[in-house]
């Protein structure tokens, strides 16, 4: 299970470089930015889920003492109405602009309609409260099924969605696509066991603790500076350029530390409003912070919706047919991750005949964004539950069934392409061999409660994309590493460690800094589980160039040909004269006599890192009288490629697992009849607390990724995929009921028990 290659730095657990600032309160996050002369912004948000703006009267706000600037959508530049590639996903800037501030119509509760900059937050809020909007409240639709009704109100005016290559007659279809391979009818005809169910999931939020924020200066030369906590400063720059209709070179994005993202801090929200208010106030800095309710109601949660799945199995216990219909609510604009969901649908299994329909449906809820393996958790809930049911029905061991049907190199994915070398089987085997799976579970512990165990698999892609790194050598033998990947969970260190490994120095001797968009080459978002892989690869390349240059310098010092200088184990030495040898540090001290500073650049644009697989095992205890459920033991097994810094790999697995557990048990957007989220606070959104969890055990399966010099694979996303299904299967093991609606909260458990008992 352990990669065989010997490393000096990789695989160790150094203290992260930014740790000291973060445990002392010194680290500067978005809300900590304070600039001289700064104004404070506030946003007026729609109180209605769906309403036309008949008029807006900002005069009272403008007249208030201390108010410097007021804006509405009329102040937003007109943006192009076409799809533009963002590297990580595509965007329609006209929709983006309308999303950031509603032009004619609020499409979800919390949709911004005006904003104010004032001398204090309190004045700004009072001014916002003084803005009068004349609303025409429209019927709202918040579920996929409501929004697809022929008489549903059209949410995006003029939108016509694509339905399998034709224009959709329904107003709220963002798109409908299909993947179909093999002979699906014959597959089911040949099946001896067929199980079909629909699985519903509520919309859920990433739940990062730091609210969105943005501080901007738009100066008289039309240069815009923006401070924000984001997963991708360059992505923010591209989005701002599109929405503000400026050249990218006029925009400088300065990323602050970021308090969690999980996909939700890729889109922009308040940043362009701060910029426009700054422009309107004569170039004064303007800071806007969201509050927690804003975050829930008006940032980018992950979709709710449903997955209807039918699986057919033959007498040999092989899945030979799979037919899925996936419908996601995109929010107030088209663009849910239903595409990725479809691509993950059958990824853990080798199924010859498959059909997948994906529907992206516009509803009156916040526009969805990515959330850790977006879409994959939804489909895993369906397929892993049905696989569990098949195993129960046919009396098959769930692990052996997964092994017998496992996708592997050469398997055709549900969306068509063939899998390269993947670690699915190794991961299932590691789960099979884990201490947890082999431990007994007392299903009736005698305290009136019952226990159950569930297992589930999951898959995510792990993307590659673009990253840039600059290195420069200090004369004391340390190396500065400049990168553009914002660090959400220790990536500075995992990237620095890769450079250190190449340079033969310690992790501490590589000093990483995340810089603004003016100061390093283009770098895609910290997301898609790509950062340690792609930015680490860029660091590797930059370090290789550094060694090349330093080899030249050594040859200068020793006055021998370059090709006679070797570099191994952190030492430069002559291949012919054993007396001539210098460590990296020694050579660094002599650079001033060899031509001055040495620096290098590494830039990559990588293919996907190959898929990552996770298998989770969940034990839980249920009070059948109340439906109260507690997870009492949990193990996450995952193919992680090579773990650069194992502590932070474990941390990703633990954190993703716990988000998934929260999703399974309690988290949801609870919508009231007016299309409004009734529980837009941490109090009622019910994310897991320390007391709701056991230790999260981790098993790292290290199958090195052949596409990366150290074998790195993305690790951040697969851990959120299996938990919902693992919890569902454990509930079934405990109570004999199958819950097909998430969250599987105590109320639903009680209802199901009641139905079961007649």
């Amino acid at each position: 299970m352990v990669a065989t290659q010997e490393y000096k730095v990789i695989g160790t657990r150094p203290i992260r470089h930014d740790g000291l600032d973060k445990v002392t309160g010194r680290a500067i996050y978005g809300a900590d930015v304070k600039l001289p002369g700064m104004l404070y912004g506030a946003v007026l948000r729609s109180p209605h889920a769906h309403a036309r703006i008949k008029s807006i009267d900002t005069s009272a706000a403008e007249a208030m003492a201390g108010v410097i600037a007021v804006m509405t959508a009329k102040d937003m530049p007109e943006a192009g109405d076409e799809l533009v590639d963002l590297g990580e996903g595509a965007i329609n800037f006209s929709h983006a602009s309308d999303h950031i501030m509603a032009m004619n119509k609020a499409k979800f509760k919390g949709h911004p309609v005006a904003a104010v900059a004032a001398i204090s937050t309190n004045v700004a809020r009072e001014a916002v409260a003084a803005i009068k909007v004349d609303w025409e409240v429209l019927k709202s639709v918040v579920t996929v099924d409501e929004a697809m009704a022929p008489d549903a109100p059209a949410i995006v005016d003029g939108w016509v969605g694509d339905d399998l290559g034709e224009k959709s007659p329904l107003p709220n279809v963002g798109s409908h696509f299909r993947h179909e391979f093999g002979d699906i009818e014959k597959g089911f005809a040949d099946s001896t066991t067929i199980i079909e169910h629909r699985y519903d999931l509520a919309m859920v939020h990433q739940g990062y603790i730091e609210p969105h924020n943005g501080t901007a200066i738009w100066d008289q030369d039309d240069r815009v500076r923006v401070w924000t906590s984001t997963q991708g400063s360059f992505t923010v720059r591209t989005q701002l350029a599109g929405v503000l209709q400026l050249d990218e070179s006029r925009i400088k994005v300065i990323p602050t530390e970021i308090g969690g993202g999980f996909g939700g801090k890729i889109p922009i929200y308040v940043e362009p409003l701060a910029a426009i208010l700054s422009k309107k106030s004569g170039g004064k800095p303007v800071r806007i912070l969201m509050d927690r309710a804003d975050v829930f109601e008006a940032s980018g949660p992950t979709p709710g919706g449903w997955v209807s799945l039918k699986l057919g199995v033959n007498d040999d216990g092989k899945i030979i047919a799979g037919d899925a219909d996936i419908r996601f609510d995109a929010g107030g604009f088209p663009g849910s991750p239903v595409g990725a969901a479809a691509m993950c649908m059958f990824s853990c299994y080798d199924i010859p005949n498959t059909r997948i329909d994906g529907w992206d449906i516009i509803v009156n809820k916040p526009k969805t964004a990515a959330y850790r393996a977006p879409g994959s958790t939804h489909v895993a809930y369906a397929i892993e539950s049905i696989v569990d049911e098949i195993c129960e029905k046919l009396n098959l061991d769930p692990v052996q069934f997964r092994l017998d049907n496992a996708s592997k190199e050469g398997t055709r994915r549900g969306d068509g392409p063939i899998f390269p070398r993947i670690g699915n089987i190794e991961t299932v085997e590691a789960a099979r061999d884990s201490a947890h799976w082999n431990s007994p579970l007392d299903k009736n512990p005698g305290n009136g409660k019952v226990r159950g165990r569930g297992i589930a698999s999951g898959y995510w892609f792990n993307v590659g994309l673009k990253s840039s790194v600059n290195l420069s050598v200090n004369t004391d033998g340390t190396v500065m590493l400049i990168e553009g990947s914002t660090d959400i969970g220790g990536s500075r260190t995992s990237i620095a460690m890769q450079a250190a490994e190449v340079l033969g120095i310690s992790a501490e001797d590589v000093i990483p800094t995340v810089v603004d968009t003016d100061s390093v080459g283009y770098t895609d978002v910290t997301g898609g589980s790509r950062t340690t892989y792609a930015t680490g690869f860029a660091a590797y390349k930059a370090a290789q160039s550094l060694i090349e240059e330093l080899t030249t310098r050594a040859s200068t010092i020793w006055d021998i040909p370059e090709d006679e200088v070797g570099f191994e184990d952190g030492k430069f030495s002559s291949k012919t004269d054993p007396e001539l040898s210098m460590t990296f540090k020694e050579l660094a001290g002599k650079l001033n006599e060899t031509g001055g500073p040495v620096s290098s650049t590494g830039a990559v644009d990588l293919e996907n890192a190959g898929g990552g697989f996770a298998v989770h095992i969940c034990d839980l205890e249920i009070d059948p009288e109340t439906g109260k459920t507690d997870v009492i033991r949990y193990t996450a097994v995952q193919d992680v490629g090579k773990a650069i810094h194992p502590s932070y790999v474990e941390g990703q697995m633990q954190g993703g697992s716990v988000q998934g557990i929260g999703w399974a048990l309690n988290e949801e957007y609870f919508m009231n009849d007016d299309g409004q989220m009734a529980n837009s606070s941490y109090l009622d959104y019910r994310m897991p607390t320390t007391l709701d969890l056991p230790e999260i055990e981790t098993v790292l399966v290290e199958v090195p990724n052949p596409l990366h010099p150290f074998g790195v694979r993305g690790v951040g996303e697969p851990p959120i995929v299996p938990p919902v299904a693992a919890v569902a299967n454990a509930i079934h093991d405990a109570l004999g009921i199958r819950l097909r609606q998430a969250p599987m909260n105590p109320g639903r458990i009680l209802e199901a028990l009641k139905e079961n008992n007649g």
């Binding site: 799809l83 299909r178 595409g339 691509m343 393996a373 392409p417 390269p420 792990n462 993307v463 898609g528």
Partner: protein, 87 residues
């Protein structure tokens, strides 16, 4: 010849064929030749001389990072799939 998998939404243009053999040394040539075989397919795959936004071309096993310039070898599979993002 590359084996080009036709996205479902385009299968009307290919008479229902799910995959077709198409010649071409680069993705651009493959798509051009596909257009000759099945008029109308090109504009569904390409915009402004690039793969359409929101879509990725898989040549072999992975989405290509080289766009229409991607080399297409004999017997390789070509797919057009939705763009993969992540969180």
């Amino acid at each position: 010849m590359a084996r080009v998998f036709i996205p479902f939404a385009l299968r009307k243009m290919t008479g229902g064929a799910t995959d077709v053999q198409v010649s071409g040394a680069t993705l651009r040539e493959v798509i051009d030749n596909l257009e000759e075989m099945f008029p109308g397919t090109r504009e569904r795959l390409v915009q402004d001389d690039r793969i359409k936004p929101g879509m990725e071309a898989v040549v072999g096993e992975q989405p290509t990072r080289e766009g229409l310039r991607a080399k297409v070898s004999e017997d390789v599979e070509v797919h057009f799939i939705p763009h993969i993002a992540g969180g």
